[in-house]
């Protein structure tokens, strides 16, 4: 009988971790199959397109690739894209902090409605996001006559593109801050208050440092979407190359004009921006998780009570 004794788990010992793993895992063939499916999917839908973009960009040699970035119109589209992002992202940063603060720190009438409204841009098509502003500020829109009388151009001009981009990227900062701030609670802010700190001082010295990685994460997501947005911006832009084209719009124009090498060159530049964003995002996610867990720990600890 001695040969039946399992030396790794001798009788009487209770190797719980081991049993848990066994209890929740699938047979080997199942695991391999699932991993295989994921890998095939990943290659076909994510890795391959990215490779094709860079391959297409470099198909006619490095010279053609680089010459695309000396083209005046293409350079202008890069400028417009960056300009739109530079305005939309800070606007949403301020809004995001304010909204997350209001939602997590106060219980007020209409709070659920505000939460739903913040999410709205994620639920509706970006085209609608653009169309809203055409209906509002376009020539026949509600504000159209007034704007025209004052010679203010919003639609088919930069202000409209900024508005549409801001709408589409509305939720990202607020959405990444709300769960974080909820988990951290507001005791540290209360402590600062009793020590005589004012509201701005508390925001600067306590709240912002506590949420900085979550905030950074939200900013990156917001920025990625702001630079890549096509649908909403295409509705409100006049799509005039060299005037109101952003990078995504310029890619479409180049492609439609059969300038494939240039189209892919701009696309690869945009993809590169996305890849940089992605690596920053991973960093922020990792830091943010640590901050989140620290927040939860500090909330959980006091409930561990030892009664004498």
């Amino acid at each position: 009988m001695a040969s039946f004794i399992d030396f790794r788990n001798p009788p009487g010992s209770d190797n719980r971790a081991d049993r848990l793993i066994r209890a929740t895992s699938e047979p080997l063939w199942m695991r391999r199959l699932l991993i295989g499916i994921v890998l095939v999917f990943f290659t076909l839908f994510l890795a391959l397109p990215l490779i094709v973009v860079f391959q297409g960009a470099l198909a006619k040699g490095l010279g053609t690739f680089l010459s695309a970035f000396t083209d005046r119109d293409i350079l202008h589209s890069v400028q417009i894209t960056l300009l739109v992002a530079v305005i939309a992202v800070p606007a949403n940063a301020v809004f995001g902090i304010a909204a997350a603060w209001a939602i997590t720190r106060f219980r007020f009438w209409g709070r659920a409605l505000l939460l739903a409204l913040i999410d709205l841009p994620l639920w509706v098509s970006p085209v609608i996001g653009g169309l809203i502003y055409v209906l509002l500020c376009g020539r026949r829109g509600y504000l159209g006559a007034w704007l025209q009388a004052h010679d203010i151009r919003i639609i088919f001009a930069l202000p409209g593109m900024v508005l549409a981009t801001t709408f589409v990227t509305f939720p990202f900062v607020a959405r990444s801050l709300i769960p974080l701030m909820e988990a951290q609670g507001c005791e540290e802010e209360e402590a600062a208050l009793t020590l005589g700190a004012g509201g701005f001082e508390i925001l600067r010295r306590i709240t912002l440092p506590k949420i900085r990685w979550g905030f950074f994460y939200g900013l990156i997501l917001c920025n990625a979407r702001a630079m890549g947005e096509f649908g909403a911006v295409s509705v409100v832009s006049a799509k005039i190359s060299g005037v109101t084209n952003t990078m995504p719009l310029e890619i479409e124009r180049l492609y439609n004009d059969y300038l494939f090498a240039s189209a892919f060159a701009v696309a690869s530049a945009l993809s590169l921006l996305a890849l940089i964003t992605l690596s920053l995002k991973t960093l922020a996610e990792w830091k943010n998780r640590r901050q989140f867990e620290a927040g939860q720990r500090s909330l959980l600890e006091p409930t561990i009570e030892t009664t004498p």
Binding site: E188, L195, A197, T306, P308
Partner: protein, 241 residues
């Protein structure tokens, strides 16, 4: 500093947390708020600190009506059950916080701040930990840091919300003794919330017993233990008389 509360009432929705409470606390007293959870004792403490605002009634610090003043104007030293230390700051910065955010005219110089922080660390017997972060300390150490942080701005009153609630029995007894000695020495008006009657009776000059948002009994530990006709108090204290 003496504190006077007159018919203070605070509700959360339909739930009356503090119901028509009047109380006078003399300068230099150590008073315990004792009662089961949900009896309103913590809410009353937060009302006094200015972290909640009353629906009705008034609060006086000495002769000054502070009912509508915000917490950062009242500057009552508050120690939280969960310490509420600033986790992204060192121990030194935690204790120095209240001194650093003081209005420019009243702010101490860098050297003076350093001096005070280090002397406070000595008072709480944690010298040498100034460069650590809160997560690197034990529960008892963190609670003492929270004390030092509250004391750094020299408050006229100290409010303690279940200060030892999260600690194990041994550390709890040590800190309780330490708090008693500290109060003997400084005679700083102090209020502390607890649900542990042994703690209340040992440390406090007077004990206020709460139930359902109302004061059931006020008195010195001896007076309360010597018997009462209040059914709740008899039951809560398990007095078999």
């Amino acid at each position: 500093m003496s504190i006077e509360i007159t018919s203070l009432t605070k509700s959360f929705g339909a739930f009356p947390a503090v119901n028509d409470v009047s109380l006078k606390i003399e300068t230099g007293e150590m008073v315990a708020f004792l009662g089961p959870s949900g009896s309103g004792k913590t809410t009353l403490l937060r009302l006094i600190a200015g972290l909640e605002f009353a629906d009705k009634g008034e609060i006086f610090f000495e002769a000054e009506n502070v009912t509508m003043k915000s917490a950062n104007e009242r500057k009552a030293g508050f120690v939280f059950q969960s310490y509420a230390l600033f986790n992204h700051m060192t121990i030194f910065e935690n204790i120095a916080f209240g001194l650093r955010v003081a209005p420019r005219a009243k702010r101490l110089t860098k050297e003076k701040i350093r001096e005070r922080v280090l002397s406070l660390l000595e008072t709480i017997q944690l010298s040498g930990l100034e460069n650590r972060f809160p997560v690197q300390l034990s529960g008892g150490q963190r609670q003492r840091i929270a004390f030092a942080r509250a004391l750094a701005v020299e408050p006229k009153v100290l409010l303690l919300d279940e200060p030892f609630g999260a600690l194990d029995a041994k550390v709890r007894r040590e800190l309780r003794t330490w708090l008693g000695e500290f109060h003997e020495r400084t005679r700083l008006t102090s209020l502390f919330v607890t649900h542990d009657q042994e703690e209340a009776f040992e440390v406090a000059d007077r004990v206020v017993i709460f139930d359902k948002g109302s004061v059931q009994k006020i008195g010195t530990p001896e007076e309360i233990r010597s018997g009462t006709s209040n059914a709740f108090v008899r039951d809560f204290l398990a007095l078999d008389i």
